[in-house]
């Protein structure tokens, strides 16, 4: 076991979402719910009660008719690294139910450990966490269709996007069987990435220069992972949460919507 797993280089799984490609169809949300056994309510129109891990928000530039532009922004968990793995939610969890793994960069959530205090929900600036007010109820026979690789949650606990971590577990399992220590980029992809019909979502290891996500945003690890690509930005960049989900857009107003800027301030994207 020692030599088998000790020397792996640390990975930093991250996501890049091209907002110029996103059509707001919501296929990522559906794929996510199906993959991760996310329960749904009879009336899902009340978004405050929904438990979707991946949410697509709609933004407009606020201008009147001829200049009106719309942009849809899918929002999974950002898997913030903060400084040294102290992401907002991990720092406040009194139960050690959520944790940051330095080997993968993934913020884990252990549902059986969580006791539902919801500090993490208050701490998360992205509203990426949801609370189960009820036990999940699936329509007849749908329980047989649940994904066995993802444990279901009960009422009273918080859940969130895991970057489909179970797919990493499966990919590693196959790699070990084939006596490999590393997996290829396409062996571990999230459900939303594969479901997106526009190909707007890219997923991979931000530390690996061969992976698409690295090439798209060129993260500057010496400066908290800030993107060197001027069209790339992260939500609320200046909070210092150091998220691992990047967005791409060529439109200035979209980039401005990603953080709070005063009136004549320039956008921070591009790293300065």
């Amino acid at each position: 076991m020692k030599e088998a797993q000790g020397h792996n280089k640390n990975k930093k799984f991250g996501m890049v979402i091209d907002l110029d490609k996103c059509t707001g169809c919501g296929a990522c949300m559906v794929a996510c719910m199906a993959e991760n056994n996310v329960p749904f309510r009879e009336d899902e129109s009340d978004k405050q009660l929904g438990t979707a891990w991946m949410r697509v928000y709609k933004m407009t530039n606020g201008k009147p008719f001829p200049e009106t532009e719309v942009c849809y922004i899918p929002r999974p968990c950002m898997h913030c690294e903060g400084h040294g793995g102290h992401s907002p939610c991990v720092s406040v969890c009194p139960a050690t139910a959520t944790d940051y793994d330095n080997h993968t960069g993934i913020v884990s959530q252990i549902y059986t450990r969580c006791f539902g205090c919801r500090y993490c929900m208050a701490a998360c600036p992205y509203h990426a966490r949801v609370f189960n007010w009820w036990d999940p109820v699936w329509p007849a026979d749908m329980e047989k269709m649940l994904n066995p690789d993802v444990s279901v949650r009960m009422r009273g606990v918080v859940e969130k996007c895991s970057f489909c971590y179970h797919r990493y577990q499966r990919a590693m399992e196959k790699a070990y069987y084939e006596e490999r220590q590393e997996i290829e980029e396409d062996e571990y992809q999230t459900s939303c990435t594969q479901a997106c019909p526009a190909g707007a979502i890219a997923f991979g290891d931000l530390n690996n220069p061969d992976h698409a996500v690295h090439q798209l945003v060129k993260p500057d690890n010496r400066h908290g992972g800030r993107p060197k690509n001027p069209h790339a930005f992260r939500l609320l960049e200046r909070l210092g949460t150091n998220p691992k989900v990047y967005y791409l857009s060529s439109r200035e107003w979209v980039i401005r919507a990603g953080d709070n800027y005063v009136k004549n301030e320039k956008t921070g994207a591009g790293g300065h």
């Binding site: 797993q5 993968t104 993934i106 884990s108």
Partner: protein
């Protein structure tokens, strides 16, 4: 005066000494009763006893097959493990009755002929939130079957499956000892047991919160 004082003193001594012996006796009886209740009766009430559908004889099978454990418990191409072989694996040999045992006859009649999967009770079934894979342990970690499972290959009968009435988990998770003590890995399979070995072998000790293993190493 003094004699009277002595007398009253002697009387009061007698009074305090009198009831002490029954109290100690009472305490001992109560203590023994609670021990019997806690160590003997409570575990019996806590666990229901179930029997395997077929009284499987590991020793007999290991003698007959060529590859030892791996003859039936093999890795599939996707890295998953045949912890409980399916009926198809059994039918490679048992399409018809090939031995003389009554259990085999029962097996063929009840499962092979109607092509019904055997509903084995899995002693080591972990709770839903636990992720376990054999590949990193057996292939990457080069661990032998016995290290975790003990000498199950030498057993000639399927032992009684005990199920916790509250949680529905197998007793093997908590362990046979109700105090939760264990000498060997196969006597108990709780989180601390996984963690103990993972800390020792330095397996993915990347957690920020605990400085130990990342939660998602063994959870899903």
């Amino acid at each position: 005066m003094s004699t009277q004082d002595d007398q009253t003193h002697a009387v009061s001594e007698q009074e305090t000494e009198g009831p002490a012996a029954p109290i100690i006796l009472f305490f001992i009886i109560g203590f023994a009763a609670s021990l019997v209740l806690g160590w003997g009766i409570f575990p019996k009430l806590l666990y229901s006893q179930k029997h395997q559908p077929i009284n499987f004889n590991h020793a007999l099978h290991v003698e007959e097959v060529d590859d030892g454990c791996e003859s039936c418990h093999y890795f599939r191409e996707d890295g998953s493990f045949s912890g409980i072989p399916n009926l198809e694996s059994c039918m490679e040999c048992h399409e018809d009755v090939i031995g003389v045992s009554e259990e085999e006859e029962k097996f063929v009649a009840e499962f092979v002929v109607p092509e019904r999967e055997v509903s084995w009770l899995v002693y080591s079934r972990q709770p839903d939130c636990v992720y376990f894979s054999h590949a990193p342990h057996v292939i990457a970690g080069k661990m032998a079957c016995v290290e975790c499972h003990g000498h199950i290959g030498e057993s000639d009968h399927a032992r009684v499956y005990e199920e916790n009435r509250f949680t529905g988990y197998s007793r093997d998770i908590w362990g046979k000892n109700i105090a939760g003590l264990a000498k060997h890995p196969w006597e108990r399979m709780k989180m601390d047991d996984c963690s103990k070995c993972h800390v020792r072998e330095n397996v993915n000790q990347g957690s920020v919160q605990t400085q130990k293993g990342g939660c998602f190493v063994c959870h899903k």
